[in-house]
């Protein structure tokens, strides 16, 4: 157990500790909206942050379980590789951007471009997500228990989106798809892992129509 009070200790000391043989449990006090808190960890440790964080908290995380007991600024868990990042409050834009693995859980709502460019991460949001979420998403799952904003899944590749509420509208090449038993299973696992009670039957699945995979002059207006 190790406490870092960012009012007293520089951020550099915290991240240096997290990179070099860190203790199993680390608590960060007074984060004060600072940027780049707990980034680049490669260790199976627990990090709890008591308060709000700025940009890129938990960026490129590997293996660690990071909990933000507050709201998170833009790019929380960006490019995460594995492990789990849980935001107790809301997350700002680009949550989980280009994430490649692990799980990001947002207990509040996420903003615009949630899961943009995602490459294998699983993102579960208890509330709503903003516009352009899962833009150019390549792989992984985005689960939205509330509503999704406009242009959901625009220019989607192979990521899978589940939405429980309303969808503002679907982006280019994103379509509603059948919820197969395999998808239902995956969704129920993700909901359970995240601690959310909904039934998978309440969700709809969206994915790529794959119409933009090869240029076709008849699809030119989608570009």
């Amino acid at each position: 157990m190790n406490d870092f009070d960012l009012k007293r200790v520089p951020l550099r000391d915290l991240n240096a500790h997290l990179h070099n043989d860190p203790t199993d449990e680390v608590t960060v006090k007074n984060p004060g909206g600072r940027h780049a808190i707990a980034v680049g960890i490669d260790a199976a440790i627990d990090v709890t942050i008591d308060g709000h964080v700025g940009y890129y908290c938990g960026g490129m995380n590997k293996r660690a379980k990071i909990t933000v007991a507050g709201h998170a600024g833009p790019g929380v868990a960006e490019n995460m590789m594995s492990g789990r990042v849980r935001v107790k409050g809301n997350a700002s834009q680009y949550a989980g951007a280009s994430g490649r693995g692990g799980t990001l859980i947002v207990e509040g709502s996420a903003s615009a471009r949630c899961g943009i460019s995602m490459k294998g991460v699983d993102i579960v949001v208890a509330g709503d997500v903003g516009h352009m979420s899962a833009f150019m998403a390549q792989a992984g799952h985005l689960v939205v228990c509330g509503n999704a904003g406009q242009h959901l899944g625009d220019s989607l590749y192979e990521a899978v989106i589940f939405v429980r509420g309303q969808v503002g509208d679907l982006g280019a090449d994103c379509i509603e798809k059948e919820m197969t038993p395999t998808h239902r299973q995956t969704l129920s696992r993700l909901l359970e892992q995240s601690g959310f009670q909904h039934s998978p039957d309440e969700f709809r699945r969206y994915g790529s129509a794959r119409g933009l995979y090869h240029f076709d002059v008849d699809h030119a207006d989608a570009y």
Partner: protein, 438 residues
Amino acid sequence: MPDDRALRESATFPASVLAEIHRAADQGIYDIRGFGAKRSVPGFDDLLFLGASMSRYPLEGYRETCATDVTLGTRFAKNPVDLKIPITIAGMSFGALGANAKEALGRAATLMGTSTTTGDGGMTEEERRSSKTLVYQVLPSRYGLNPDDLRRADALEVVVGQGAKPGGGGMLLGQKITHRVAGMRTLPVGIDQRSACRHPDWTGPDDLEIKIQELREITDWRIPIYIKVGATRVHYDTALAVKAGADVVVLDGMQGGTAATQDVFIEHVGIPTLPAVRMAVEALRELGVHREVQLIVSGGIRNGADAAKALALGADAVSIGSAAMVALGCNRAVHVDDYAALGTGPGYCHHCHTGRCPVGVATQDPELESRLRPEQGAKWVRNYLTTMVLEMQTLARACGKSHVLNLEPEDLSALTVEAAAMAKVPLAGTDWIPGNNP
């Protein structure tokens, strides 16, 4: 037989324009191609060195040394990059280039004591192994980006733009997306890859400053962070890169190459390297950080003279991409039938986008790739770089300089009014710099 008037070509609609309209009518899509701008723009050929005579002493070739070393990333990084020569290998993706080409470039760079750079698509084992100093690009697509490669890189380069297509994203056509390339990029095999032109998690210079702080924290402030921009509004971009916390600004002029971009983009967006260097140096001087934040210039650098002129205008190093590919055999007159099969010939090829590179440089096809052996390629590139360095030293000595970085605008003279105005060096035979004095 028709008379000459009947065969008169239209200046507005010459044969090449007619052919392009016919092609567009057939295909309904812009032309996508590789290489770089083919149009003629003012360049380093429009500048001359003045050389020493009565008022300056030259250095004795072969006896008096003319140093070429340069250190990059001295502003914030704990471990700056020390290079023996001020010529680096520019970022080119594995995917656009084959693994053999990437390995050859890495080996040659290592032999010469300089750096090479990854590209869109991530870092390959071959290139990490073969490169002593490897710059790892952080691109909008984030293909293959991961913290382990970040930590084993010697410098990072945040790519905001590229000279061939400032404001445009990456593009790799389906024929080059093999299993290995697809795996590295997390994409389905064989699809046209459309990659973003903006980074997914920051917009604008204020965000970039925070992004750079994150990258520094992840890498424990060890390695330099470069920012690469395509040459457009160079003055602002350079100043904003400095403000965002760059250790090094990489500036790519419109002559810079590409593996696959819309022809309309290659030929019509961005400004030439010649004015761009001068504008960047002016911005760095205004901020009082010239030489503290280093400037690497690329885009159409072909020989020691181009490199020496860029340095004389104030750059700290140059970077070569297309020229390094040419050294590897691009457009060499071998396998002529294979060029013909692409509808082109040696000397004219710009078909990197097809994946059918006749000389095994820009391909993922195993048979074509086997035409470029990494050892042979490394030797070619090493010889070529050695030649460039000797040329630079020759020119620097002639100007009386004991280090190539001591070259200065005062050593230059412009051949054309355009070059004088763009580089802000006097027109030959006058003291006239258009725009500076009447």
